[in-house]
């Protein structure tokens, strides 16, 4: 659980992944739950995406806090972890259209000289086969993560 000072003005929660590859849909599922919880709060915005895109920088240029939620294929202690995301200027792969959070932050810094606080919440998936719906184990894991995110944001947004 991070101990971060956050501003209230523009918080973005971005969950991404492919919901048709079962637990790869963790990010989008988490955003659905969080959007419902925070539907009456101002200053908090949500994206449920298949993948990250470079033109997100136009939306994020005024962001003060960004939380990314994505599935992890590797084993994580407790099933999930928070990681601070720093701007990365070299992480764009050469043969792919895939963008990662650090690269998005790198774009923000390069284009707008903005470096918002950013966290990646990785949630361990169990089944990435073709199909819809999370596995029960992972659904429970996402619930824990959602609770942690709510606690984290309540410090900034107030109850």
């Amino acid at each position: 659980m991070p101990n971060a000072e956050t501003k209230q003005s523009s918080i973005w929660i971005i969950g991404y992944g492919n919901p048709q590859r079962r637990d790869d849909g963790i990010g989008q599922y988490a955003v659905t739950k969080l959007r419902d919880i925070f539907k009456h709060k101002e200053g908090i915005h949500f994206f449920a995406l298949h993948q990250l895109e470079p033109d997100l920088v136009f939306e994020l240029q005024d962001a003060t806090l960004i939380i990314f939620v994505d599935a992890a294929v590797n084993e994580l202690r407790g099933g999930w972890e928070w990681t601070r995301v720093e701007p990365e200027l070299r992480s764009l792969s050469y043969l792919t259209h895939h963008f990662n959070p650090a690269f998005l932050l790198g774009l923000l810094q390069s284009l707008y000289n903005e470096s918002p606080e950013a966290w990646m919440i990785s949630v361990q998936g169990e089944d990435f086969d073709i199909g819809e719906g999370l596995t029960k184990e992972v659904e429970d894991r996402v619930f824990e993560v959602v609770v942690e995110i709510v606690k984290f944001l309540d410090r900034d947004l107030g109850s």
């Binding site: 895109e53 470079p54 992890a72 070299r90 764009l92 050469y94 259209h97 390069s110 990646m120």
Partner: protein, 476 residues
């Protein structure tokens, strides 16, 4: 005794969309063969069986996060054929507009994010800066404009389908919703800037080509057939048209209705690749292999139907008259000509009085037990072919994607670059960059489906004939 060494380039650590390059050397350390492997949408053809055919445009677009629109449109066309209907005129216009939005975002992304670092910063630039951030540092104005142009294409898609990735728009018999006049007007207001950015890309490319003409001529330049869809006048056709194949001198080999593709196109299976190798049947395999995508389309077509793009095509023709027809690096130039064409077409479509019509869908039951939908995806010809039972459930599905059509060409391109830069078992500086660059010209779609957190290293491993690792090059 002949001995063989092996170099493996394993560029992408992913659950799916995995690609790697293997280079085989003989006992003297000279390149004898190369293989580019890609796994593509494993299981979709099987996964779809038993599903109602109406679901196919939504299911199959999930194959890819970059070109979902292409899959959705090809799928919807196949479903139209199962229904046995001709969709309403407004739906036809809207699908074509959606398609143009897809091209604009995809081609802009490719040039400004993937190709421009090679060209504008140089093949041999430090990998730490040879990326889009490096481009931002050196050409900040171009970089921002490139992201905006891509966003413009995505905005077209969102205006029609409600979201930028995986829109629910094209359905069997038409489309789901009409275009609001306010959205039409908003999109029309963006063309001046979009044209300007496209022209900027063309100018940057042409300037680079002039300065590097020797490399353009030498780099993965080889003879091949080319395939693309054309309209009745021989102009590039992206949404529909006849399937034309020309030879290495642009002489027509065949032109046929895509619905008859099985009469002309075979698919070879090689034991070392998950991908199939399509080829033109009358020439057999591998002679009948062909290239698809931007270079293939401009080579296969007689002309382009819009004035600005056709004028640029004339410049392209002058260049290729000088023996450059097969230059793989010219994929980039051809791609920008197509981007210009798509902007012109999108503007035409948005100014069409019927674009905001409301007659957008025909609903009826299946009339045929088979449907074939063929379009030009940004990377080349895309085929969706379905069979259904009397209840409309999918009994078979065959999908041929552009990266498959280009399979043999990408292998050939890698081979030519490797032969130039590997001698006596030593990998010359710059070889790795150029192998990447050769593959990147085709813009193969490796970003489909599931992704994994983490970096994607590019690795070359050199083994001697005993299987011992003797050298390793890696870039994170």
């Amino acid at each position: 005794m002949t001995t063989v060494q092996k170099i493996t380039i394993d560029p992408i650590s992913r659950l799916e969309g995995h690609g790697k390059v293997t280079i085989f050397l003989d006992g003297n350390g000279e390149v004898t063969d190369t293989r580019f492997h890609v796994t593509q949408f494993r299981g979709y053809e099987r996964f779809c069986q038993g599903r109602p055919f109406e679901e196919m445009p939504i299911i199959t677009q999930r194959i890819c996060g970059i070109c979902p629109v292409s899959h959705q449109l090809a799928s919807a066309k196949a479903c139209d054929a199962i229904l046995g209907v001709q969709i309403p005129e407004t739906a036809y216009l809207l699908r074509k507009l959606l398609h143009k939005g897809q091209y604009i975002q995809s081609h802009a992304l490719h040039f400004f994010h993937l190709a421009s670092p090679d060209l504008l910063l140089g093949w041999d630039a430090d990998p730490a800066v040879r990326n889009v951030v490096g481009v931002i540092g050196k050409f900040p104005d171009a970089a921002v404009k490139g992201i905006k142009l891509r966003k413009y294409g995505q905005e077209i898609i969102k205006a029609l389908g409600g979201k930028k990735v995986h829109p629910a728009f094209s359905v069997p018999g038409g489309v789901t919703n009409a275009l609001y006049e306010s959205d039409r007007d908003r999109l029309l207001a963006g063309f001046d800037e979009a044209y300007g950015t496209c022209q900027l890309a063309i100018d940057l490319l042409k300037e680079w080509q002039e300065k590097n003409l020797d490399e353009v001529k030498r780099f993965a330049n080889f003879e091949s057939n080319y395939a693309g869809l054309v309209d009745k006048d021989g102009c590039i056709a992206l949404y529909d048209g006849n399937w034309r194949i020309v030879d290495s001198n642009r002489k027509m080999l065949v032109e046929f209705d895509p619905a008859n593709y099985l009469d002309y196109i075979g698919e070879k299976v090689e034991p070392w690749s998950y991908m199939k190798f399509p080829y033109y049947k009358p020439q057999g395999y591998p002679k009948g292999c062909y290239r698809v995508g931007p270079l293939a389309r401009v080579n296969a077509a007689t002309k382009i139907a819009t004035p600005k793009a056709n004028k640029e095509l004339e410049n392209f023709r002058k260049l290729t008259e000088k023996g450059l027809l097969g230059c793989t690096l010219l994929y980039h130039y051809a791609r920008q000509i197509e981007l210009l064409y798509c902007l012109e077409r999108a503007e035409e479509l948005l100014k069409n009085p019927g674009i905001c019509g409301t007659d957008i869908r025909i609903t009826t039951g299946p009339a045929n037990n088979e449907g074939i939908g063929v379009i030009e995806a940004p990377r080349g010809i895309l085929v969706h072919h379905y069979g259904v039972d009397k209840y409309g459930k999918i009994t078979k599905a065959n999908l041929i994607v552009a990266t498959g059509h280009n399979n043999i060409a990408m292998n050939r391109s890698v081979e030519l670059v490797a032969k130039e830069y590997i001698h006596k078992g030593k990998v010359e500086e710059g070889m790795l960059n150029r192998v990447e660059g050769a593959i990147r010209c085709y813009d193969p779609c490796l970003s489909c489906a599931t992704h994994a957190v983490g970096k994607m290293p590019l690795k070359i491993q050199i083994y001697n004939f005993n299987g011992e690792l003797i050298d390793e090059v890696q870039r994170d």
